[in-house]
């Protein structure tokens, strides 16, 4: 019998929306599902995970797990997978899902597929579709090994239909063993408080090199605020130090697929396009009519962003009234 273990994706101590997308998928497909949540102060999410379809919620809650490290996280998931009898482990794609998925493939003697955007399931017969070659092709793969299937799914691949919490059957995991050789020392800079997470936002406004500097970034920021959008950036902007690394959209940073993606002064290098072309609606402003971003834009404005953005902010305010 197939059984899915959903690995909850957390920000701080809160479960993020991509986890609810995975649980919605297994719930609607009627698949037997457990969940595991790892971190510090994460026990509180157990009822939410149960309400959304996890029969048993495995919890590894410890101060030493506040930040991701491959070894203890993998150890906790292995423990949960063994207790649960899981035949598949589902992760959400994030900066660390490749490290984690690869480690799990060895520790669970299974196989790992990343960046999945479509799943066809017949028990443990799985066909996964994933973009490859900077999203220039789609690759359909299957598992040719009897071991556990480890599948990392991109956010937005499935819709989330959140359900109210209910009392969970909780199993507390033993504190997983870390690896003293790789010590996580903390964050270089704390993320701006209150900033919307790129992986969860319905709308993302993103700035590219065309903003020319920190003043340009500040010109666009109010547009993100007015739209209730998360604020992202291209690699060029992040490497220049105008925006934090946590804001970086693209294959090098965060792969996103919001309902609406607004690219301001982003030319559209392939790594950027690969990171956002799954967005449902794409709006682009660039003064270069030949910029590659227009090849994916549903609405393109060939215009000077320094003139266009203030008008956009004004128009958003008008329509939001």
């Amino acid at each position: 019998m197939s059984k899915i273990l959903v690995v909850a994706d957390t920000k701080g101590s809160d479960v993020r929306k991509p986890t609810l997308e995975l649980l919605t998928k297994t719930r609607k497909a009627g698949l037997s599902t457990d969940a595991v949540v790892i971190g510090q102060g994460v026990q509180k999410n157990a009822d939410l995970l149960a309400g959304n379809g996890a029969a048993t919620v495995y919890v590894a809650d410890d101060a030493g797990l506040a930040q991701f490290a491959t070894a203890p996280y993998a150890a906790a998931i292995v423990d949960a997978a063994k207790q649960s009898g899981a035949t598949q482990v589902w992760l959400s794609v994030g900066e660390m899902s490749k490290a984690l998925g690869g480690a799990l493939a060895v520790r669970l003697d299974g196989a790992f597929v990343s960046d999945v955007v479509e799943l066809e399931l017949k028990g443990d017969e799985v066909i996964a579709t994933r973009p490859a070659m900077a999203t220039k092709v789609l690759q359909r793969v299957t598992f040719a090994h009897p071991g556990i299937r480890i599948i990392a799914v991109r956010s937005g691949a499935f819709d989330a239909e959140p359900q109210p919490p209910k009392t969970a059957k909780v199993v507390a995991l033993a504190t997983p063993k870390g690896d003293e050789r790789a010590k996580v020392k903390g964050l270089v800079a704390a993320q701006d408080a209150g900033e919307l997470d790129l992986g969860e936002a319905r709308i993302i406004v993103s700035v590219g090199r065309g903003v020319k500097g920190p003043e340009g970034v500040e010109l666009v920021r109010p547009l993100a605020k007015a739209l209730g959008a998360a604020f992202g950036a291209s690699r060029a902007v992040v490497d220049s130090g105008w925006m934090p690394y946590s804001a970086q959209v693209g294959q090098t940073g965060r792969v996103v697929a919001p309902d609406i993606y607004v690219a301001i002064g982003v030319s559209g290098a392939i790594q950027h396009l690969a990171g956002m072309s799954g967005s449902k609606l794409i709006v682009a402003v660039n003064k270069d009519a030949d910029a590659p971003i227009f090849s994916v834009a549903d609405y393109g404005m060939v215009a000077d962003l320094f003139k266009a953005v203030p008008i956009m902010i004004e128009e958003v305010a008008k329509h939001k009234q």
Binding site: A99, K185, T252, F294, A297, G300
Partner: protein, 261 residues
């Protein structure tokens, strides 16, 4: 510090990629070192320049992989190992990692540096699997690297919460992001010198591997087919006076796309 850098020769993804009968069309394609692997080579060379030691580049692939290895030697790597065996073709991440583990174990090493993923599959499994097979600690998605003493690396990685600091004791494996460095170009002198550097060509049998363990036969993940991407419907592009264009598009976003509804 002895460093092993696995590199992959891949189709240049900047080119126009076509799919024919479920496969990537190979005609007219050119091959390059996968982008993130170049960052791995550069990081290894910088560490060697600081602490001494040797950089060994390794590639598993057909004949053309030797061109990528020569390029890495021209950049400054000391030795190359080319695993060129038809039975290794169509390996999955696990298969590549098994082969690379055997190559790494041929000599003492302090560090393995991989790219964060290869540009052809974008799968990203090989490095993490390799680390686990060798029992090494690993740090993925490294964007900054400092090393005052050769036994420890001070790393920043692009993690879930932004830039995270990690201290890593060697031996270990790290996976490079392209923000880590700007890979150097090979100098003419480097290109000449590369011709005389050792490039070992190995078969699976030389590594004690059977053809069933790797390649298409040993693959745990099998590709069924490639498909062209789903085309987006052609968009609308507006040019002209900035204010007119902006008001027009904002009106369409409100009334046609109904983004404020």
């Amino acid at each position: 510090m002895n460093i092993v850098v696995p590199i992959k020769s891949v189709i240049d993804v900047e080119l126009n990629i076509r799919v024919q009968e479920g496969k990537i069309a190979k005609d007219g394609m050119s091959y390059i070192i996968s982008k993130w692997d170049e960052n791995a080579i550069e990081a290894a060379l910088q560490l060697k320049e600081k602490h001494g030691g040797e950089v060994t580049v390794v590639s598993v692939g057909p004949d053309r992989a030797s061109e990528s290895l020569r390029k890495a030697l021209a950049m400054g790597a000391d030795k190359a190992v080319h695993v060129n065996d038809p039975a290794a073709e169509d390996s999955d991440s696990f298969g590549f990692a098994k082969i690379l583990a055997k190559v790494a174990q041929r000599g003492p090493f302090d560090l393995i540096i991989t790219g964060k993923q290869a540009q052809d599959t974008d799968m990203g499994g090989t490095g993490p699997i390799l680390a686990e097979l060798l029992g090494l600690p690993q740090v993925y998605n490294v964007i900054k690297l400092e090393s005052d003493e050769p036994s420890t690396l001070k790393l920043n990685r692009l993690g879930h919460q932004g830039q995270e600091m990690v201290e890593l004791k060697l031996p270990a494996l790290i996976a490079a992001n392209d923000s880590l460095n700007e890979p150097r170009l090979a100098s003419l002198r480097g290109i000449m010198a590369a011709k005389k550097k050792p490039l070992d060509v190995l078969k699976l049998a030389d590594l004690g591997l059977s053809p069933d363990e790797v390649g298409a036969k040993g693959a745990r993940v099998r590709t069924l087919e490639f498909q062209p991407p789903k085309r987006r419907a052609a968009g609308k592009k507006f040019e002209g006076d900035a204010e007119e264009v902006t008001r027009k598009v904002m009106d369409l976003l409100a009334n046609e796309a109904k983004i404020f509804a």
